[in-house]
């Protein structure tokens, strides 16, 4: 059973703004990163899945239930942590989370028990009897997570969960998210524009841009450890490429650059030796990993970025030879 499934899902605001543009995707349970720049449609997608927003056209199911028809039922099994502040300052965390548990359909006793449990889980102890208005940003984020977990959802939708947190708070929140997904077996969708965070906790990635699906694939295919070695020489890139090729390396020449397939440490030495042998001025030698940023880089950027972009997209035939396995990671749906 797919966790989430959408077919040509479209959401327009007014006549001109298209937040989701015929989005079709299938997502299996796991910790899923939903990445995209601000305004890419991440929050809109989450809100449509929750039934907070009515889609303009197309369809979507969550846990095999239709978002248009079965909103309240779906929402009994889904937890949502919004991006913005959403807590009343004049209640204690315990009162508020208990109340939210009951609004999610839990009986009173269960709501109280689970509130104590999730507040402990997110790391709020004595503070839970204090009014939320006096909390720090980090504590408020924990309460927001707790209210999303209180009814033991099967799917947790987190919209920018580390918003406003300091580095330590960020780490703790990401660790909580990771544990929620791995140890508690709750499927998590984390929307973020911070790719570094997504890299740390997610095992699957949905990249959207301008309301369209850019890519959907396991995270490992985005950030392969086996990367590409970028070699920059002042001149004679063609001669270097030819030499490296003769030495048995898979290479591609790209202007000043020579891109070398990097499986192990050997190419470093081969390149050094070849450059010395040919008397070339070696300016730079750098191991490239596929970076998530490359997903969103404009292909008309400088050559180097363009090459990396192509690598991440698996779109350039020439690079497929350099980076095997990348082509297989194309957008699935």
């Amino acid at each position: 059973m797919p966790l989430i499934s959408t077919r040509e899902l479209t959401k327009r605001y007014g006549a001109s703004v298209i937040a989701l543009d015929q989005l079709t995707l299938d997502v299996e349970p796991g910790i899923i990163g939903l990445v995209g720049a601000n305004g890419a449609g991440k929050s809109t997608l989450i809100k449509v899945l929750l039934g907070l927003l009515e889609p303009t056209s197309g369809s979507a199911t969550v846990l095999d239930m239709d978002v248009r028809q079965q909103g309240p039922t779906i929402r009994q099994f889904v937890g949502y942590m919004p991006e913005h502040d959403c807590l009343p300052p004049d209640m204690t965390a315990t009162e508020f989370v208990t109340h939210m548990g009951r609004i999610s359909g839990l009986p009173s006793d269960a709501a109280r028990e689970r509130t104590a449990e999730v507040l402990r889980h997110v790391g709020l102890y004595e503070e839970r009897y204090r009014q939320i208005g006096g909390y720090s940003t980090g504590m408020k984020q924990r309460v927001k997570l707790a209210q999303a977990l209180v009814h033991d959802p099967r799917l947790l939708l987190l919209d920018e969960p580390t918003n406003g947190l300091d580095p330590a708070g960020r780490d703790e929140m990401l660790e909580l998210v990771r544990r929620t997904g791995t140890e508690f077996g709750i499927a998590v969708i984390v929307a973020s524009h911070l790719l570094g965070e997504i890299e740390r906790v997610c095992d699957y990635l949905l990249a959207i841009d301008a309301g369209r699906l850019l890519r959907a694939a396991p995270l490992s295919t985005f950030t392969t450890r086996t990367g590409v070695l970028t070699v920059e020489v002042e001149e004679g890139a063609d001669r270097l490429a030819a030499s490296l090729s003769r030495s048995g390396l898979t290479v591609r020449e790209d202007g000043h650059l020579v891109l070398v397939k990097l499986d192990d440490e050997r190419p470093y030495d081969v390149v050094r030796d070849a450059a010395a042998e040919l008397g070339l001025a070696l300016t730079r030698m750098e191991q490239r990993r596929h970076r998530l940023e490359d997903l969103f880089r404009d292909p008309t950027d400088d050559l180097q970025a363009g090459a990396a972009h192509a690598a991440a997209n698996g779109a350039t035939e020439a690079l497929k030879a350099v980076v095997p396995g990348d082509g297989a990671a194309g957008a699935e749906p």
């Binding site: 309240p72 929402r75 949502y80 004049d90 939210m100 359909g105 009986p107 033991d152 140890e183 077996g185």
Partner: protein, 308 residues
Amino acid sequence: MTGQVTERTTAPGETAAGSIYDLGYQHYLGRRLGRRAAFVALYVESLRACFGLGRPGRSKIVPVGLLVIALLPAVIAIAVEALLGGIAGGRVRNPIRYDNYFGATFQILVLFVAAQGPELVGRDQRHHVLSLYFSRALKRLDYALAKLAALVSALLILLLLPQAAIFVGKVLGGKDVAAAFGDNVVLLPAIILSSVAAAIAMAALALALASLTPRRAYATAAIFAVFYISVAAAGIAHFAVHGDLGRYILLVAPTNILEGLTAWLFNAVPDAPLADAAIGGGIYALATLVLAGSAIAVLLRRYARIAA
């Protein structure tokens, strides 16, 4: 679902710093009660909030104070009834009766809805809590209706509790308890009907206005304006304009509608200027329906569209 259910690894007492998050997690296997239970939970919480229960002490001052003040006339009425009944042999008429009780408590009701209406609906908008409600087992209309039901119930408490006190006072204060009971019990339908009508109309109007803005001050001012300025404006227009229009123009004020309806239900004559206007009881009833209906429509429409 592939997750394992881990056993609790730390006893409640031993929350060492090193094991802050290492407490295990239990899945909830019990029943999920769904939308109806969510509605009831929101209604109960909102009704409690009307009187500041579950909120800090300062939130209780206004609503509880108003409840006490609402009860005062009733207590006075009982005392006056007892005293005058004894001294003048019942020939002096008690100034506080069921039919003008609405007039006596009206100011208190307006203060109550002006203070608590914005609290009920504005607070969730101000702090963006709506997205949490709407992402739960509720529908948007459930939210609006639960809030409305809560404020209606709160107003009914304010209206019926004192009248129940008057009722008890009149019955027990009479020389012949059985006869006094008989005299008063026939008024029960009018008491209940007028209170329910006033509670629904006032709550709907106040919430409709309050739901339009997250700002408490604006909402309170708007509620005061609608209840007070409309009466003054209608009164002035009534004297300025002649003929039927001059009579019916009094109905632009919600207060006049509810006072007229109450008087009609008790078969009594309303105070001036409503007495001069001699508007039929059916008109008052119709005006009440239109007032409450349109206010509820505005409220529901607002929540059908509000961003969350």
